[in-house]
Symmetry: C2
Subunit: 407 residues, 2 copies
Amino acid sequence: MNNNILIAQSGGPTAAINAALAGIISAALKSDNTGEIFGGVNGVQGILEENIISLTERFEGDEDALRRLRFTPDMYLKTCRYKLKKPEEDDSDYTRLTEIFKKYNIGMFFYIGGNDSMDTVARIKTFTESRGLSVKVVGVPKTIDNDLVEIDHAPGFGSAVKYVATTFREVMMDTGLYPLEYVAVVEIMGRDSGWLTAAAVLAPPENFPSEPVICLPEVPFDKEKFIDRVNEEVQKAGFAVVAVSEGLKDKDGNYISASTGYVDKFGHPQLSGTASALAGLIKEAIGCKVRSIDLGSAQRSAGHISSETDINESYNLGENAFRYASEGKSGIMATLTRKGNDPYIVEYGYVDVTKVANRVKDVPPEWIDEDNFTVTADMIHYLRPLTEGETKVDYKEGLPDYLYDRY
Amino acid sequence: MNNNILIAQSGGPTAAINAALAGIISAALKSDNTGEIFGGVNGVQGILEENIISLTERFEGDEDALRRLRFTPDMYLKTCRYKLKKPEEDDSDYTRLTEIFKKYNIGMFFYIGGNDSMDTVARIKTFTESRGLSVKVVGVPKTIDNDLVEIDHAPGFGSAVKYVATTFREVMMDTGLYPLEYVAVVEIMGRDSGWLTAAAVLAPPENFPSEPVICLPEVPFDKEKFIDRVNEEVQKAGFAVVAVSEGLKDKDGNYISASTGYVDKFGHPQLSGTASALAGLIKEAIGCKVRSIDLGSAQRSAGHISSETDINESYNLGENAFRYASEGKSGIMATLTRKGNDPYIVEYGYVDVTKVANRVKDVPPEWIDEDNFTVTADMIHYLRPLTEGETKVDYKEGLPDYLYDRY
């Protein structure tokens, strides 16, 4: 009887992706009809190599480990960036997956990931169905980029917003301390969409004399306007802090990080960051003290300041995904819709995964205040509730007691 | 009657420097003999310009504000990097300070800062005494660099260690997720001493397959040995994470960040970070995916993950400083001595400030394992207790509710 389940994770890590995994495992362990729960290590790539572990063995009867998993950032089952070919071109991977599903008596397959992963979900559903397998294939969303469609916001995003806004608040307060002109430039993740960079708008504490200068990838970079805006802030407050998306481009679509043309002594172009490129421009144009900060992967993995709202929603989406699969649904993604901001209310549901696959949710242009290098009140109202509530992570010897298993 | 007090802050910010300020204010407000409490804005530089505010007006009767101050990172009274001249060369600043002290009836002056600030404390004490003023001049220590002598560890350092080790843990877990060879390089503050960079040694969670590769400024950088060590880690675990001090130098004493010789398209040398310089070397030598992270000022200002031990010690040092001044002591720095690690016990006291001024506490060479790019168990035992306990910062609308006053 194919009542075993298989779960895997894919794409970039977030602080909330393990909460979704914990939600699925918890719901499956409580269910009477579930057999063994398997985890595929390194996404579909690992499943194809039969890199499969038993999650039942690991978590059954260990409530504490399941609780720690919920608050552990990054990905318990690791990840891959493997993209399945179109089955009409090459169906060997699908055939192999079908074999694995049969061998392990898989009745439900859950894939936690972003756009690409939802494409994988859709294709596996179609192929396995065409081969007469009754496996239910369900997607569970996550991405700090928040570019998933058919969901109000993606799990993982709220925690990243909380981390970025908090860190930006601390950096703004730091930058304003010196009796000299000083600009800090902070690079924020999100190559194609500015959702996370916009989080800087939440940063200034009450009474603060300066607003962040926000450069989104949706707005072609105009050097003169930018320098004017930074100068305006420096004149007003004595300092300025810039939030720049790693994916900032000029009007011709070239990345700013590349176009500054730094080369090493052998003439190779350097992998310079966007923040350090802007810092160079500011130094040249204004001549004041400038520092750049590149938070890198710290911003998607910051479990120590994850949002309780985000972690709970991700957990609920995992639980719901299991329920939908148990009810016989397949080819869907668990989702949520915002029903109100004050109080903040979401409604859970599901959506046909083909509506999600390979699409991108952009920042609405009317939420961007291009002239003032900032975002509008609509964006603030959208972001704020996602950061509410503090993580319940345990600490051991002074550090967050994350769950890590070696296998 | 000169029973008013003046407090100022100097040097770089930390997560615990406002706790010391809160300790002094709290003790002064409780004392029967204290007049008004003044704050000098922007350190001695601000005091010279008579940039002085009343802390009595701000905090008397407002327990909540004093509590928030305790947990607010950065510097409530802002800072300066102003260095007083030697009085025998030019005593105009000292004469001006003496006038200000007289005008405001200052009986006690507290200066919270690092090495340079303790030098300022010593000089002001000597000069005011020579002019017959009875002002008590007391230093209160802080620095994330931990290079202050005559104290077991500097307030602010423990919180920075907690932040760096936590973030490094999250980045290590992130880096190990992909089924490909991947190296992350994280740049950590501390230009001349490796205390904070050493905090990376605490990062790996239990069962983790990789150890951080740690590059301290105390060890001349050897490119071949470094690449070998990174390669060894990549072979063993499939990935590696490097912790590098911003102040890493080669055997000739040149900064690694400068010696890689990146120039912009106009031929100007770029202000490249040390991490991105090492990332470039790794990319060239190993050819795998490499990312660099520069946490910048985020690591000295991370109030959201400050160490309770650190905040409490800083607060206690502030309270004690007030007590010592009340007892008539002058020209001293409040200090603490470690009496045990298990349980962790410190004893508070004071030391002649001239013993502290302009000296530097290096990492003991025997705590550095040069061959293995790491630090020894002695360093781990030294660091661990400083990170214990979590901050009690309040949250408002999802973010830490820091105290910021505009003046």
